[in-house]
Structure formats: C-alpha cells, structure tokens
C-alpha cells in the first residue's frame, strides 16, 4: 500500500465531497429508514438524531454526551459555569430534574405521549394528568416552600370532565345530587325570602322581627339539612375539608375517639355560623356536667402547647369556652355550599341526619333478679375433699406452752384426737373435767396451742377416712419448693409403685433424687410380699399406706424413711409414734407372728392413752422417742463425701495458695483426668448416682458395696478391702445388736471363700484367703460385738477420700487441738462438751432399738449378697495380684493398716463424740499428705494401665 501511495503526487487541496459533509445526516437518515438494521450487529452504530455517534468503544471514550462527546464543555468534565458557592451560597444553582433528562424524556414529561385528547376525556384522567404536569411546571418555575413532589400528588387540580361540563350546562351545580330537587327547594327559598322581605317591611315590631329572622334562619338551615340528605358525593372530600390543622398528613387525632371528631366539626361549624348558631351540644350527653376546666393533664408537657389532640379526655372539656379561638375559617365563596358543608358534617352517614337534640342515652337495664333461694356459693360436683369441707381457717401458729409436760400432753392428745375423731375429744373433756392437766380442752391455758396442734394433725391425716368431716381443712397453699418441683418433673420415678393417693398431696417435703435404682437391688421380694400380704393397719388406710412406704424404704435399706417425706405435715411426736408402730409391726411380720403383734402394735397408742394420768408419762416417753428417732434420722444425714477436686491454677494463684496438683511428680492428675473421663466413666457415673440419692442407706447397703467392688482403679484398696475386713472389725466399737449378724456374715463369707478356693487353685489367692481366714480366727471382740463394717465402708465409697489423712498423724494433733480448744474460748468448749451430751447416750440406745429388727430382717438376704460380693472381689483380685509385686504388697499392707485405722475412726465417730472438733493443723500436714497420696495414686494409675 505504501508503495502505491508513493506513486501518486497530489497538488492543491482536494475538493471535499459534499456527501462527506452530509454523511452524518445521511447516516442518521439511513438509520431512521432502517438501513442500518441490515448491517451485522457489530457494525451498527448508535447515533442521535443529528447523526452523531453516541456510543464509542471502550477505548475511544465510552458513552459520550454533550459537547464533542464531553459533558457540556470543550475542555471536558469541568462544570460549564462554575460559581463558587462559598461567597454566594444562596445563589448556588439548584439542580433540576430537567438537567438529567434527554430530549425525548423531556418530551415525554411534557405530556406529548399518547393520551386521550381532552375531547374524549370522559373521566378527566388525562386532563387531571395534564393539569398536574402543568402545575409541576409552574412549580419548577417558582420553587415552593415545601420541597418534593408530595403535595402535588395529594392536591391534584380538578379538571372538569365532559360529563361534569354537560351536567353543569344542564343546571347542575357542584356538590348536589343529580336528582332534580333544586326546584322545590328554590321555590321554598324564594317563598321564605318573600316572607322575610315582608316581615322586614314591618320594621315596627323590633323584637318579633328578630325572632322571625331567627326562626327563618333556623328553618332555612333545617331545609338545608334536609336537602343535604340528597347531596351526592361527586366532589372529592378533600376539597371540602381543607387541611387547617397542624397535624401530620394522614394523621387523624380522632381515630380512636370519633366522638371528638364530631365535636370538632361541630365546633368548626359553630365558628362558621357563629353569628346565629350555637354548636351542637352533644357533649353534655357525653360528658355530663362540664365541671372540669382545661389544664395540663397527663401527657402534656409544660412546654408543649395544648393542641386538639391533647384535650384532656377525662377532664370534661368545655368546648364552649374555646371554640372562639379557632375561628379561622376557610372562606368559601358559595354561601350555600358552606351551609351544606356544615350540615353535612353533622351527618355520620349519607342519608342520615344528625338529630338536632341528641337524645343519646345509655339504656339501662335492671340487674337480674336473684332467686330467693340462691346461695352465693359454688358447689363442686366432684368429691374434692379440699373444697367440699367447710374450710376452717387454720388456727394461728401458737408457740408451745412453756410447760414441757403440758406441751407433750397436748401434742400427744392432739395426735390421738386426730386419729380417733372428735368424739374422743368430747369424751375426754367430759372425763377430765376436774383434771387440771386437761385444762386446755375446754379453753384454758394452752388451748390455742392445742387447737393448732389438732389442726396440724388433721391436716396431716387430711385426706383419709371420713371421720372428722367437720375438722377437715384444705391443705394450705402449696408452695413450689425445690422438691416439689423435682417431683413435678418426675424426679422420683420409682416412687410410682406406691399408691400415691396421699403422698402426692402431702409429700411436699420429700427429698428424693431420681436414682432410686437401688430399690431394684435392695428390695427383698419376700419380705415385701409379706408386708403386702399382711396389712396391720387395715382400719386406717392412710396409715397402712405409710406403713407400706416405710417397709419399702426400709427394705431399700435406708434409715431415711417416711418422716422425711412427711416432714411438713406430721409432727415429730406423731412420726415417732407411728414409726415405732411400724417398726414393731414390721418386726412382727418378719417373725411370722404377725397378727398378734400387729394388733399389739396398733393398739398401742390406745393402750397408753387409756388412763388419763398415764397419758402424760406416755407422752413424755413418746417425745423422747421422737427425739431419738429424729436424732437418728438426722444422724444419717450430714453425710460427708469426699472427692478429688482440681482447682484451676489461676484460682490457686488468686487465693495465694500453692497449687496442690502442681508440684506433683509426673502428671498423674492430668492423666488421671483424661483416663477418668474415658475409661472409668461407668464408675464415675455410679458415684454420681450414688451421690444423687440422698443417703438412705446405713445398715444394709448392697448397691454401695457394688460400687466399691467396681472400683477397679484401686487394686491395692481392693486387696486391702478383702483382707482388712475382719481386722478392722475387732477394732470397731461395740454394738450389741450386731454380734450375731456379723458372725453370720463371716460364716457366710468363709463359706464363699472356701468355695472360691476350690474353684480356683491360684496360690496367691489362696494365700490371701488364708490371710482372710487367719484374721478372723484371731479376732477378739472386746465387748463381744462385731459391728457392721459395711456401713462404714459404704460411707466412703470413693477411695480417694480414704487416704486423705493418715490417722497416725492426726490423732496427736487432735488431742493437742482439743487441749488448745480449752484455752481457746469458753463457748467452743462448751459446745464440744455439750454436744456429746446431747446425743451420744441416746444414740446408742436408738441404735440398738432401731437396728436390731432391721438387721434381722435383712440378714437373710444380705448374707447371700455378701458372699457374692466377696467372690467378685476375689475375682478382681485374681486379676490383679498376678502383677502385684512385693512392693505393692507391702504398700497394700501399709495401706490396709491405715485404712483400718481410718475405719475405726469412722465408726467410732458415731459413738465417740468427745472429739467433736478436730482443730487439725491441716495446713502444715496437707502438702505432705498430698505428696504421699499422689505417689500412691500414680502407682495405681500405672497398674491400671497395665490392666
């Protein structure tokens, strides 16, 4: 190409071709004619009406607009007319919508789009649109105070449609219905005018004149109102109701109080017609006498102006006083329109006129006549005891009388009366009229207390037999205690086996935890059946029930019996009494002499109540018993368990204490933690479940034993447990009732072990057994007793706790501390001396009383369990002792001794009470102990791993 160009020589300027100049135009024309459309898409160009190219490629400038493909200026994007707004801010040019519109859009905006011409605009839409646009245009020309297009949409200029025009031409006037009613009214009006003129002529009668005038106006108004009925709604309402208030648009202050809208309207109309018309006085009927003055009421701030909506609704607003204020009316050109308007505002609905005098009054109805035989009390059909009985108010809680004997007497008597019925009270009142002791019955001193007691007793026996109908009182309002919540949540599932007619109501105080699983282990079916078969308290179903409950809990192996569950409702003495009955009955059943014994048991209270004088002594005895029982039950309660607990290092730091687990050799506790959670989960779960059930077990405790057996993690302990069984026995404190039982157990164990030996010929095992045998043979029972070691063992099932404090260290410290104690303060010594006095003596007697029957009951089956348990221990042991080296053996023995010592302490704690307070100097010894213990633990850990 370059070569060819070189060949040409140009002279002069080439003549521009004309078509080149007009090419753009041509192009535009071509585009318009559709030539361009034939081109492929990439060759098509977008051009404006002048043929300029509107779109460029990305590299040639993109979309272009304005001057030379720039915006407005040759130079580019600089504003065409820059005026600093700094100096003349007000003169800054406001942007307009037309600045952003193209010509075609502008044209569209001008209304050049396709629309019905005004000729055929029947409904006036186009005209309205047009006028709207016109208005907009005007608005653009003179900027309005209210920015934005809002009001344009709201206030549309009215255009007249063809129909309206036609109607107007036909004589119709705005706001009227199309019906031809004007003639009549006009005629009437003319007539009236004539009358007026006539009367005006007779100007002599001044007063009558005004009267007539007034009447005329009135009638005209009336006629207007009548006419208004026929008024159509052709004109939009907002024209008639210009916005005059300062409310927000669309805000209706009377939205929820239409009465006040009426009021307002009437006020407005009154303002308009102030010359001759008073506002309707509907408010009188609404508010009654206008007493209240307007004042800043609720909800109106001091700085807020009182507005219409702030009218104090409750104060009785007097509109007559204020309507003058608001008399700025919109001036309406058409007078009749105004009239019509006012009249219309009284209309609630088209076609209805407002009554001139409001006769709105609330229709009152007489209250229904109550039949004479009507009793204002609801009777429930169902036999709900609580409601059916006349609800006697519970007598006030009176403090017991000072005299102890009297108190006891009253207590016992109340119990008995509640049991036997009011009849007995009457009887004894008669009988003991002269007796000083029974002064409280007719109302002497202590009567209040007696009433209270009686009430309590009856409450307790609330829902049983129909004996004391007249005394039945509904249970006091049941509060949601934690236990109740628990029971509601079903946290005592195994209780369901009982017939809970009574317990559900009265067992608010029962403290039970979900895991009564032990029942399944402990319940001995036979004795249960026996108890079921024999119903010693047939005559008293509730008592029978309680008795069954008692048996159940007893065979579950707990001392914690019904008294806990009935803590709320039963008095101490009653419980004690009942309990003794139960014990006796249970014993009797067990011994097979059921009937005779039971009768004795049931008749017992009657026996001791037979004579009036005997009663007191019986009462005291009873009370003592109750105290004993209570002591015993509470004795089981503060039950201590110990667990290992690892405080966070930071916690120790914050408490300024050394971390007990920090200076440990190895990472025993850490490893332990993991292992615990992973491997020994069942064990921990068991421990948890044990924890959960509140310690009911003292004497016979199979499940706890099971737990201990399962404590595989401590083979040493196990070993020791096997061998130290008997060695510790000899050191236990004497307990009379236990002797035979313990012996029996031992025999059982011996049988089991020999059996085991026969089965497994392991030498070590037999050695162990030998040891086990040897020890009992050497045993000397100092007081000829052997305590149930299972108790004490079960008390600490967690072995972790067992090695806490070696006793050898502790003992001397205790002594010294007790010495110290003497000097420490009078009070504490007093306490430590006194507390033993309180229960050490009694305790023993209770133990004897309470546990002997139970042991008898349970020994038969527990002994079997015993054997099983031992066997299982042996099995475990067999697994373990293969690797138990001499050191561990030594260790175990060492441990064993310490353990037995501990046990001794444990058991003796119950009896020996002089060392109540161990003012141990734990601080000094603890670290040493923990170290010691830790070593043991790590060793145990290792062994476990080997397993």
């Amino acid at each position: 190409m370059g070569l060819e160009e070189d060949d040409f020589v140009f002279h002069g300027t080439p003549i521009e071709r004309e078509d080149e100049i007009g090419s753009r135009k041509k192009k535009a024309v071509a585009g318009a004619s559709g030539n361009l459309r034939t081109l492929p898409a990439w060759k098509q160009e977008v051009i404006d009406e002048e043929g300029r190219r509107r779109f460029h490629g990305a590299f040639t400038g993109g979309y272009s607009a304005g001057y030379y493909n720039t915006v407005g200026s040759k130079e580019g994007w600089a504003p065409q007319s820059f005026t600093s707004s700094r100096k003349n801010r007000a003169g800054a040019r406001k942007q307009n919508i037309s600045d952003f519109l193209d010509e075609d859009e502008k044209a569209e905006l001008e209304g050049q789009s396709l629309s019905a011409s005004s000729q055929f605009d029947t409904f006036g839409f186009t005209a309205a649109e047009h006028s709207r646009k016109q208005a907009e245009k005007e608005r653009h020309e003179r900027p309005s105070a209210i920015p934005g297009p809002v009001h344009d949409e709201l206030i549309a200029p009215v255009s007249e449609s063809v129909g309206v025009k036609l109607l107007l031409k036909m004589g119709w006037r705005r706001g009227h219905s199309i019906k031809d009613v004007r003639a009549g009214s006009d005629a009437r009006r003319e007539a009236r005018k004539a009358v007026l003129a006539f009367s005006a002529d007779e100007s002599t009668k001044g007063s009558s004149d005004s009267l007539v005038l007034e009447s005329e106006v009135k009638t005209s108004l009336d006629s207007q109102i009548n006419e208004d009925i026929k008024f159509s709604e052709t004109t939009p309402v907002y024209v008639l109701n210009p916005k005059q208030d300062l409310h927000g648009l669309g805000y209706d202050p009377f939205k929820h109080a239409p009465e006040f809208r009426e009021k307002k309207r009437s006020r407005l109309s009154a303002g308009k017609e102030a010359g001759y018309k008073k506002p309707l006085s509907m408010k009188e009927s609404l508010f009654g006498p206008n007493t209240g003055k307007i004042g800043p009421g609720f909800g109106i701030g001091a700085l807020e102006e009182l507005d219409v909506e702030d009218e104090d609704v409750y104060a009785g607003y007097d509109f007559n006083q204020t309507y003058v204020i608001e008399d700025e009316q919109p001036v309406r050109p058409h007078n009749d329109n105004t009239l019509r308007l006012t009249a219309k505002e009284h209309n609630v609905l088209p076609g209805f006129g407002a009554a001139s005098n409001s006769d709105y009054s609330v229709e009152r109805f007489d209250p229904p006549k109550i039949p004479k035989d009507f009793v204002a009390r609801h009777k429930f059909l169902g036999p709900r005891e609580a409601e059916t009985k006349p609800t006697a108010v519970p007598p006030p809680d009176v403090s017991p009388p000072e005299d102890k004997n009297l108190k006891l007497l009253i207590d016992g008597f109340a119990t008995f009366v509640s049991r036997c019925g009011k009849l007995y009270e009457d009887l004894s009142r008669e009988k003991n009229e002269s007796n000083q002791l029974f002064d409280f019955l007719p109302g002497g001193s202590g009567h209040d207390y007696y009433v209270r007691r009686l009430w309590e007793e009856q409450q307790k026996r609330g829902d049983q037999s129909n004996l004391q109908l007249d005394f039945k009182v509904p249970l006091s309002v049941e509060k949601m205690s934690a236990e109740k919540r628990g029971s509601l949540l079903g946290e005592r599932p195994l209780q369901k086996s009982l017939k809970e007619t009574e317990t559900s109501a009265s067992s608010g105080g029962s403290f039970q935890f979900p895991t009564n699983l032990s029942d399944t282990f402990t319940k001995s079916a036979s004795s249960q059946e026996a108890a079921d078969a024999v119903k010693p308290f047939k005559d008293d179903p509730a008592k029978q029930e309680r008795f069954e409950q008692f048996l159940k809990e007893k065979y579950r192996g707990g001392l914690r019996t019904t008294d806990s569950s009935r803590f709320n409702s039963m008095s101490e003495s009653a419980r004690a009494q009942e309990r003794l009955d139960f014990e006796a009955a249970a014993e009797a059943i067990e011994k097979g002499k059921a009937y005779k014994e039971v009768r004795r048991a049931t008749e017992r209270p009657i026996d001791f109540l037979a004579g009036g004088l005997q009663f007191t002594s019986g009462g005291t005895e009873q009370i003592k018993d109750s105290g004993v029982v209570d002591m015993k039950s509470s004795k089981t309660y503060p039950k201590r368990e110990e667990f290992q607990w690892r405080p966070a290092p930071l916690l120790c730091k914050r408490f300024d204490l050394p971390d007990p687990f920090m200076g440990k050799p190895g990472t025993a506790p850490r490893a332990r933690n993991k292992m615990d959670s992973l491997i020994f989960l069942p064990d921990t779960v068991k421990a948890a479940s044990d924890l959960q059930e509140p310690k009911k077990e003292t004497t016979v405790e199979e499940p706890e034993v099971e737990v201990q057996v399962e404590n595989v993690e401590r083979p040493v302990d196990l070993y020791k447990a096997i061998f130290s069984d008997d060695s510790e026995d000899d050191e236990e404190q004497p307990m009379n009732g236990k002797k035979e039982e313990g012996q029996e157990k031992k025999n059982e164990a011996a049988a089991a072990t020999t059996l085991n030996r026969l089965i497994a010929g392991d030498f070590l095992e037999s050695l162990g057994k030998e040891l086990g045998f040897e020890v009992p043979s050497n045993v000397t029972y100092p007081e000829g007793t052997k305590p149930v070691e299972e108790d004490s063992k079960s008390k600490r099932k967690s072995d972790a706790s067992s090695e806490r404090r070696p006793e050898t260290k502790e003992k001397p410290e205790e002594k010294t501390s007790s010495l110290k104690l003497g000097s420490e303060g009078e009070k504490s010594t007093k306490r430590s001396e006194k507390s033993p006095r309180n229960w050490s003596g009694e305790e023993k007697s209770t133990k004897n009383k309470e546990e002997s029957p139970r042991n008898d009951l349970s020994s038969s089956d527990s002994s079997g369990d015993e054997g099983r348990r031992r066997r299982s221990k042996k099995d475990k042991h067999r697994n373990n002792d293969s690797e138990s080296d001499s050191s561990s053996d030594y260790h175990s023995r060492d441990k064993r001794s310490s353990r037995s010592r501990r046990k001794r302490r444990e058991s003796s704690r119950e009896n020996r009470s002089s060392h109540k307070k161990h003012y141990k100097t734990k601080d000094s010894s603890s670290s040493r102990y923990s170290m010691d213990e830790d070593r043991k633990e790590s060793r145990r850990e290792k062994r476990r791993h080997r397993d």
């Binding site: 667990f643 607990w645 930071l650 310690k695």
Partner: protein, 309 residues
C-alpha cells in the same frame, strides 16, 4: 439472762428507700457502712448508724439478690436476676465489669479475702469464680458439672449461697449439700444434709458452718468432720431465701423467719434465747456487724432495720 441483753434487739435505725423487697443487706468490711439491694434493681449504700442513704447504684436490669464489699471497701460486687455479676466501684458508682456466664439467676456473690476473685452461686447449679484482676471475662473456674476435668462432682441443684475462707470455697445448694472446695488440698467435701440448703454462713472461728435449710431448721456442722453439731428450730423457713448468721462471739445463732421474726438461739443448747418481730413480712437477710453487736435485717416489706443492743 445476760445473753439477751447483749443481743442487738433494739431498733436503732430504719433505712427506708427501697421500693419493693430488700433482698440482702450487708455490712461493709469495717461495719461502718451497709449495702442493701432489692427488687427495685438498685443497690443502696447507707450509713446504718446514722440512718443516711449515701448512694444509689443503678445498673442492674433485674432484681439484685446479693452484694458483697471488698475488704478495702473500694469495690463491691452484686448479682441478681440478670445473670451477671457486676463489679462496681464504690465511689464513682460505675460498673467496672460485668461477668457474664451464668445461665440463670445468680443467688449469691462473695469476694475472697484478697478481693482478687468473686465467687458467684447461680441457679444454673454452678459456682463460678471470676477474676477481678485480669481482664479476662472468662471465669477462673466453673464449679459446674459439665467440667469433669476440674471437678469430680458438683451441685445437683441451684446453689443458693456461697462462703469463702482463706483456702476454701463453700457452697450451699438446694440439692441438700454443703460442699467445701478446698483449694489447698484439692478436695471437695460434700456434706449432705438431706434438706435444701438456703443459706450458709461460717462461724467466726472458722470451724463450723451454719446451714439454713428449707425445713425450717438451721444446722450447725463441724467443718472438719462434717458432723451435725446442733439443730436450731422454731423459725419458719420453707420457701424464701432467709439468711442466718452467727454473732461475733459465736455464742448465738441468728436466723430470720418468714413471719417477720428474728430468732436468736444459743449456739450450744439450741434454745431460743430471744425472738422479736423485726419486720412485718419475710425477713430476707440478716447480717451481723463484723465487730460490734449490731445487726442489719432486711425484709420483703422494703425496709432495712438496724438493731443494736
């Protein structure tokens, strides 16, 4: 008996100001001031001896159940229905920190001796220890069942009350246990009382724990052995959280009753030495002056009374 005369049974001042029930009234460390808190979501600082309201602390969103002042009287902590433990500055009245973490209402708070941590007892069955020194908002230790690594077993029900000694954290729970967490030993000792424990307080010699149970009984436990030393009865405590405490000499046990009475028992023989009507309604809190014979009682009736001998 001379004992009755040395008991604070005469009303010295009536502190009025709380709207609604006052849930706790506590002396500060030296006993010159008292903090009360209540259902009106405020904590009030009083001079109980002159009966003057000094300051009102508002920030809680729910009722405030307990409050405790540091030993240096510079800070205090409070807790309540809004599941948080608030750590306040006494003088400025501002909340220094809020400890979040409890899943339920918090029933009690206590500082330790050095005021380095706050221990809170919650409805969520946990005791939580919060660090006041570091800026971490995580509890130092949660005494909760889900953390089996740090604790072998803990409360089974709402923890109602907490008491701290130098080396131990003691919590009383509705599950009937008083659990002692010995930090030095790394042991947890659980004393099961069989009855829901409402309030615990420790004797001044540190050897006994007094536990108020919901069976209208106060139980005195030996801390070392877990033995039940004495039982105090006579008052009513069945459904409300009523406090109990011991006098400074440990000679008497004081317990509030739900009928508005305050009972004094002899520590040793458990006799009711004195009782008087302190309030019209439930006595929610009883707290004893750290040195003098002076007592604060608060009640549901919205008043706090100061009693002196």
């Amino acid at each position: 008996m001379s004992a009755t005369t040395e008991l604070p049974t005469k009303e010295a001042n009536l502190l009025k100001g709380h709207e609604g029930a006052v849930l706790a009234a506590r002396f500060n460390g030296d006993g010159n001031y008292a903090l009360t808190c209540g259902k009106d979501r405020t904590i009030r600082l009083w001079n109980p001896h002159r009966g003057i309201l000094i300051k009102t602390y508002k920030s809680h969103g729910r009722e405030v159940r307990d409050v405790h002042v540091t030993s240096d009287n510079a800070k205090f902590c409070s807790c309540g229905g809004d599941r948080q433990v608030y750590y306040w500055d006494v003088s400025t009245g501002r909340v220094i920190r809020k400890f979040r973490g409890h899943d339920g209402e918090v029933n009690a708070v206590k500082f330790n001796d050095s005021s380095a941590v706050v221990v809170s007892a919650g409805f969520d069955r946990s005791l939580r220890v919060w660090d006041c020194r570091s800026h971490s908002v995580e509890p130092v230790q949660v005494f909760a069942p889900f953390l089996r690594f740090t604790i072998i077993d803990t409360f089974l029900d709402t923890v109602m009350s907490v008491v701290l000694t130098k080396t131990e954290i003691i919590g009383g729970s509705v599950d009937g246990t008083v659990r002692t967490f010995d930090i030095r030993m790394g042991r947890e000792m659980s004393d099961n009382l069989g009855q829901p424990v409402n309030c615990i307080s420790i004797s001044n010699d540190g050897n006994c724990v007094l536990a108020g149970c919901l069976d209208s009984t106060l139980r005195l436990l030996d801390r070392t052995t877990g033995e039940l030393l004495q039982v105090y009865k006579g008052h009513i405590s069945k459904s409300f959280k009523t406090d109990c405490c011991l006098t400074n000499s440990d000679a008497h046990v004081i317990g509030g009753s739900e009928d508005g009475m305050v009972y004094f028992w002899d520590l040793v023989d458990a006799k009711v030495v004195s009782k008087f009507r302190a309030h019209d309604l439930v006595v929610t809190s009883v707290s004893y002056h750290p040195k003098e014979d002076c007592m604060l009682t608060s009640s549901v009736d919205g008043t706090v009374r100061v009693w002196k001998k």
